[in-house]
C-alpha cells in the first residue's frame, strides 16, 4: 500500500525533494545556470512520474489526495507550464534569479497538490503553498510596480483565504467531516441544510477570488501589469488552471450543481465575468491589462461549461483550459521579448511589429486569433466545445451571453491585431530575440495549431480520462 502511495505521489515528492536540495545548495553555491538545470531536472522527473502512472485506477492516498487520470492530465499540464515559465524567466536576465526558479517550482508543487486534493485540509494547504509562492514571485523584481502588485495580491488573497477557511469551518460544523468522498455521499441530504450551503458559498467566494471572476476581479489587471511577463504567465495559466481543475472536482463531485440556486448564481457570476471582463478590456491600452481582462471573460466561458454539469462538462473544460493555457503562454513568450521595460507594455510598442519580427508577430497573431476563437486555432474548437456544453444542458441564456461577449471581445482583439500590422509610429529598432524563447514559442504555436486542426488523439485522450 505504502509503495503504491509513494509511486503515485512521486511527482509531488520529487519536486519537494529537489526544492529542499536547491534551497540548501543556494546557501553556498549560486549560479543561475546550475540552479536552472537542477530545478528543471526535478520538474522533468515529476513529469516522468505523472506520465508513468497514467492509466492506473483512481487511488485515494490517506484521504487527502485522490489521484486519477484526469488529475494526472492536469499535473502534466502544470509541470509543463512550470518548465516553460522557468525557461522564460531565465531569458529575462533578472538579477539573482536563483530563488525565483526555486519558488516557481514550489508554486508548481502547490498547484499539483491542489488538483490532487480530495480533502479540505489538503485543499487549503496546497492553495496556500501556491499563493504564498505567488506573492514572492510577483514582487520578485523589487520595483515599485511589482511590489505594489505583490502587496495587492497578498491582501486580496489573504482575505479570500479567510473566506475560504471560514467556509470550510462552517461546512465542517454542518457535516462533521472534511473528506470530499464522505461529503459526496451525504451531499444530497445536505443540500437542504442552509448552514452547509452557507459554508459552501463562502468557499466558492474564496475560489472566485483566486479565479478573478466578477465581482472578485479587481486585483487581476494590476498583478498582470506589475509582475514580470513570465510570472504573469504563471498566474494566468498555472494558478488559474489549477484552481479551475480543482473546482471541476469540487463542484461535480460534491453534487453542488444539483442545487438550483447555487447553479444559477454560478451562471450569473459567469455571465457577469463575460460581459464586464470584455467591456473593461475595451478601455485598455496596455497589452498585459487587455489579457488580464480578457482572461476574466474566458474564465466566465469556462464556468458555463463546468456548470453545465453534463458528460460534456469535463471534456469541454479540459479542452478549453488546455487551449487557453497554450494561447496565453504564446502571448507571454512574445510579451517577455518585446516589453523589456515597463513602459513597453503599451500597444504602441507593438505597432508595426509584423514588419520587424514577422515570425514573432505571426505567433502573437495566432494566439490572439485563438483567444477570439477563430479558425484554425484551438480556440475555435474550444468555443465550439463551450457552446456545445451549454447546449447539452439547455442553458439558453448563457449561450446568449457567450455570443454577446465574443462579439465585444472582437473589438479589442482586432485592436491588438491592427497594431501588429499597422504603420509604426516611429522607426523602432529590432529587439534581440533569445533562441530559447523562439524555440518555445514555435513549439507552442505548433501545439496550438495541432489542437485546432487535428485534435483526434487529444480529444480521445481527454474523453477517455474524463469518463
Amino acid at each position: 500500500m505504502l509503495l503504491t502511495d509513494l509511486i503515485l505521489l512521486s511527482p509531488l515528492i520529487v519536486i519537494a525533494i529537489f526544492s529542499v536540495f536547491t534551497l540548501l545548495l543556494l546557501g553556498f553555491f549560486r549560479r543561475p545556470g546550475v540552479t536552472l538545470a537542477i530545478v528543471i531536472t526535478g520538474l522533468l522527473f515529476a513529469l516522468l512520474g505523472a506520465l508513468a502512472t497514467s492509466g492506473l485506477a483512481p487511488w485515494n492516498i490517506v484521504r487527502l489526495f485522490l489521484l486519477d487520470d484526469i488529475t494526472r492530465f492536469y499535473m502534466v499540464l502544470l509541470i509543463l507550464i512550470g518548465i516553460v515559465v522557468i525557461i522564460l524567466q531565465h531569458q529575462q536576465r533578472t538579477e539573482q534569479p536563483e530563488e525565483l526558479y526555486l519558488i516557481t517550482s514550489i508554486a508548481v508543487l502547490g498547484a499539483l497538490a491542489l488538483v490532487a486534493s480530495n480533502h479540505f485540509a489538503s485543499f487549503f494547504l496546497s492553495l496556500e503553498i501556491l499563493s504564498i509562492s505567488l506573492y514572492i514571485m510577483i514582487s520578485y523584481l523589487y520595483k515599485e510596480r511589482s511590489l505594489e502588485a505583490g502587496f495587492k495580491y497578498l491582501i486580496l488573497s489573504g482575505s479570500s483565504s479567510a473566506f475560504l477557511l471560514f467556509g470550510i469551518g462552517v461546512s465542517y460544523l454542518a457535516t462533521g467531516t472534511l473528506d470530499f468522498s464522505v461529503i459526496a455521499q451525504i451531499s444530497p441530504e445536505m443540500l437542504s441544510n442552509p448552514l452547509w450551503l452557507g459554508g459552501i458559498a463562502l468557499t466558492l467566494v474564496g475560489i472566485g477570488f483566486k479565479l478573478a471572476v466578477v465581482p472578485f476581479h479587481m486585483w487581476s489587471p494590476d498583478i498582470y501589469e506589475g509582475a514580470s511577463p513570465p510570472v504573469a504567465a504563471f498566474v494566468a495559466t498555472a494558478s488559474k488552471g489549477a484552481v479551475l481543475a480543482f473546482s471541476l472536482r469540487y463542484l461535480l463531485k460534491l453534487g453542488l450543481l444539483n442545487h438550483p440556486t447555487l447553479k444559477t448564481s454560478l451562471l450569473i457570476v459567469a455571465a457577469l465575468s463575460i460581459i464586464i471582463g470584455n467591456l473593461l478590456a475595451l478601455q485598455q491600452a496596455n497589452i498585459k491589462r487587455i489579457l488580464a481582462y480578457s482572461s476574466i471573460a474566458h474564465i466566465g466561458y469556462l464556468l458555463i461549461a463546468i456548470t453545465s454539469g453534463t458528460s460534456l462538462a469535463v471534456e469541454s473544460t479540459t479542452y478549453y483550459i488546455t487551449s487557453y493555457i497554450i494561447t496565453m503562454l504564446i502571448a507571454f513568450c512574445v510579451i517577455s521579448v518585446i516589453s523589456r521595460r515597463e513602459e513597453e507594455d503599451n500597444l504602441d510598442s507593438y505597432r508595426g511589429m509584423f514588419w520587424r519580427h514577422p515570425w514573432f508577430a505571426g505567433a502573437l497573431t495566432i494566439s490572439i486569433l485563438s483567444l477570439a476563437s477563430l479558425p484554425v486555432t484551438a480556440g475555435f474548437i474550444g468555443k465550439l466545445y463551450i457552446v456545445g456544453a451549454a447546449f447539452s444542458a439547455s442553458l439558453w441564456a448563457p449561450i446568449v451571453f457567450i455570443v454577446i461577449g465574443s462579439i465585444i471581445g472582437l473589438f479589442y482583439y482586432l485592436r491588438v491585431l491592427f497594431s501588429l500590422y499597422g504603420e509604426p509610429k516611429e522607426p523602432r529598432e529590432t529587439t534581440h530575440i533569445p533562441k530559447a524563447t523562439a524555440l518555445l514559442t514555435g513549439l507552442l504555436v505548433i501545439a496550438l495549431l495541432w489542437l485546432g486542426i487535428y485534435p483526434n488523439l487529444f480529444i480521445d485522450t481527454i474523453r477517455s480520462i474524463s469518463e
Binding site: V403, L410, I459
Partner: protein
C-alpha cells in the same frame, strides 16, 4: 482530389507570396499562376462529359474523409452545378482582383497577396463544404484576411470600416455557430449519431419551434453577408474604404457566400420553417431592392453608389431564394453571377478612375469622356448591365426572379418592378456626372492600359454571354437546383 487541389492551391500560393514578398513582382505572378490553375481545373470539371450527363444525382465530384472523428467531423467536400459556377466565378474574379491591384498596390506585396489568396480559399471552402463544421471554418477563415485587406491596404477611414465589417459578419458567424451546434445536438439526441454532415443533418426531426429558431440563426448569418436590409450598414463603409481588389472580392464573392448559404443550407435544412418565414424574407428582399436604389441615388461618392447598388441587386437574390420555384431560383443563380461580374467591373472602373483623378466625388468630376474615352465606354457598358439592359446578364437574372416572384406574391413583384425605375435613375446619374458636362480637371490622364482592357473586356464578354445565351449556365445549375428543390419539397 480535384476539390482538395482547388482549395490547397490558393492557400499555398498565399503562403508562398508571403515568403517571397520582398522579391519584386513575384507574389503577383504566383497568385496569377495559382488562380489560373484553379480556373483551369474548374473549367476542366465543367467541360468533362460527366457534367453534361448529370440527371438525378447532382454531384459532379466529391471527397469525404474522416477528420475529427471523436466529434463526428468529416472532411467532406462536394461540387454540384451550383458550386461549380461559383467556383468558376471565384477563380475568375480572383484573377481580375490580382490584375486590379497591379498598379494600386506597391508596398507589402507579399502580405497583400497572402490575404487575397486566403480570402479566396475561404470563399472556395464555403462553396465546396458539405460538412457544417468545415463550412463554418471556411466561413470564418475568410474574415481575418479580408479584415487585413481593408484595415491595412484601404483608404482613409479604413480602421473603423474594417472593424465594422468584422463585427457584423463575425456576429452573424457566431449565430451560425450556435445554430449549427443546435442542429448537431438535436440530431445527436434524436439519432444518437454525432455528425456535422449536411446529408445526415438534413433529415433531423425537430419541433416547428426549434426549426424556426435554428432557421433564423442560419438566416441571420447569411443575411448579414448578403446583406439583407436591416443588416446592411457595414457594407457601404467596407466597400468604400477597401482597396479596389478588396471591393471586387467583397462585392463579387463575399456577398455571394451569403446567397449560397441561403440556397444550400437555410431553405433545404429547414424547409417548413423557411416557408413560414418566406413572406418576411420577401418583404425584406423587396425593401432591399428599393431602399438600396434610393440610397444609391443619393450618393456623391461613386464607390458608395456602387456599394448601395449591390444592396439593391442582392435584394433580387433574396427574393429569388425565398420564392423557391424553378424560375426564381434560376434567376437568383444568374443574378449572383451577373452581379459578381458587373459589380466587380464597376469597382474596377471606379478604382481606375480614382487612381487617375484622385477623387471618388462625383461633384468634382465631369466631362471625362473626352479625357478617358475607353474607360468611359466600359463604364457605360457596365452601368447599362447594372441597369438591367436586355441582352446583358443582369436583365436575365432580374427578369427570371420577377417572373418567379410573380407566381408567389404579385404585390411584391409589382413593388420590386418599381425598383427597376430607381435602378435606372442612379445608374444614369453615376454615369452622367463624371463623364458628361464640362471637363473639370485640365490634367491629361492616361487611358486604360492593355491589361486593364483585357480584364474589363473579359468581364464584358461574360456579361454579354450571360445575357444572350444564359442556357449554358442554366443547364449546369439545373440538376443542382432540382435536387435542392426536391430536398426542400417545396
Amino acid at each position: 482530389m480535384i476539390l482538395l487541389a482547388l482549395l490547397l492551391i490558393p492557400l499555398l500560393a498565399g503562403a508562398l507570396s508571403l515568403l517571397l514578398g520582398k522579391k519584386g513582382d513575384w507574389p503577383r505572378w504566383i497568385c496569377l499562376v495559382g488562380l489560373g490553375i484553379d480556373l483551369g481545373l474548374a473549367l476542366w470539371l465543367w467541360l468533362s462529359p460527366s457534367t453534361a450527363s448529370l440527371e438525378h444525382e447532382p454531384w459532379i465530384a466529391e471527397i469525404d474523409w474522416p477528420w475529427i472523428t471523436p466529434l463526428g467531423i468529416r472532411f467532406h467536400l462536394a461540387l454540384d452545378g451550383l458550386s461549380l459556377l461559383l467556383v468558376l466565378l471565384t477563380a475568375f474574379l480572383g484573377i481580375i482582383a490580382v490584375l486590379a491591384s497591379w498598379r494600386g498596390i506597391q508596398e507589402r506585396l507579399g502580405f497583400y497577396h497572402f490575404n487575397l489568396m486566403w480570402v479566396l480559399a475561404g470563399v472556395l471552402g464555403v462553396f465546396l463544404s458539405l460538412d457544417l463544421f468545415l463550412f463554418l471554418l471556411s466561413w470564418e477563415l475568410m474574415l481575418i484576411p479580408m479584415y487585413f485587406l481593408i484595415s491595412i491596404f484601404g483608404h482613409e477611414a479604413r480602421a473603423r470600416a474594417a472593424t465594422k465589417f468584422f463585427l457584423f459578419t463575425q456576429g452573424g458567424g457566431l449565430l451560425l455557430l450556435v445554430a449549427i451546434l443546435g442542429l448537431y445536438f438535436l440530431h445527436l439526441w434524436a439519432t444518437g449519431e454525432a455528425s456535422f454532415d449536411y446529408f445526415a443533418l438534413r433529415n433531423t426531426p425537430m419541433s416547428p419551434q426549434s426549426a424556426m429558431w435554428l432557421m433564423l440563426g442560419f438566416f441571420a448569418a447569411f443575411a448579414v453577408k448578403l446583406p439583407a436590409l436591416p443588416f446592411h450598414t457595414w457594407l457601404p463603409d467596407a466597400h468604400t474604404e477597401a482597396p479596389t481588389a478588396g471591393s471586387i472580392i467583397l462585392a463579387g464573392l463575399l456577398l455571394k457566400t451569403g446567397a449560397y448559404g441561403l440556397l444550400r443550407f437555410t431553405v433545404p435544412l429547414f424547409p417548413e420553417a423557411a416557408e413560414r418565414f418566406a413572406p418576411v424574407a420577401l418583404v425584406l428582399g423587396a425593401a432591399g431592392v428599393l431602399y438600396g436604389a434610393f440610397l444609391a441615388f443619393a450618393q456623391r461618392d461613386l464607390k458608395r453608389l456602387v456599394a448601395y447598388s449591390s444592396i439593391s441587386h442582392l435584394g433580387f437574390v433574396l427574393l429569388g431564394v425565398f420564392s423557391w420555384n424553378t424560375l426564381a431560383l434560376q434567376g437568383a443563380v444568374v443574378q449572383i453571377l451577373a452581379h459578381g461580374l458587373s459589380a466587380g467591373a464597376l469597382f474596377f472602373l471606379v478604382g481606375s478612375l480614382k487612381e487617375r483623378t484622385g477623387t471618388r466625388d462625383m461633384e468634382q468630376m465631369g466631362g471625362l469622356w473626352s479625357a478617358l474615352p475607353r474607360l468611359a465606354a466600359f463604364t457605360l457598358f457596365f452601368s447599362m448591365a447594372s441597369m438591367g439592359l436586355p441582352g446583358l446578364g443582369n436583365f436575365i437574372g432580374e427578369f427570371l426572379v420577377l417572373a418567379g416572384v410573380y407566381q408567389v406574391q404579385v404585390a411584391i413583384a409589382a413593388l420590386t418592378a418599381l425598383g427597376l425605375v430607381f435602378i435606372t435613375l442612379y445608374s444614369l446619374k453615376g454615369f452622367q456626372k463624371p463623364f458628361y458636362g464640362a471637363l473639370s480637371q485640365s490634367r491629361v490622364f492616361p487611358d486604360l492600359s492593355p491589361y486593364e482592357i483585357l480584364a474589363l473586356s473579359s468581364l464584358a464578354g461574360l456579361t454579354l454571354w450571360l445575357g444572350l445565351y444564359p442556357q449554358t449556365v442554366l443547364n449546369t445549375a439545373a440538376p443542382a437546383l432540382r435536387a435542392l428543390q426536391s430536398i426542400a419539397g417545396m
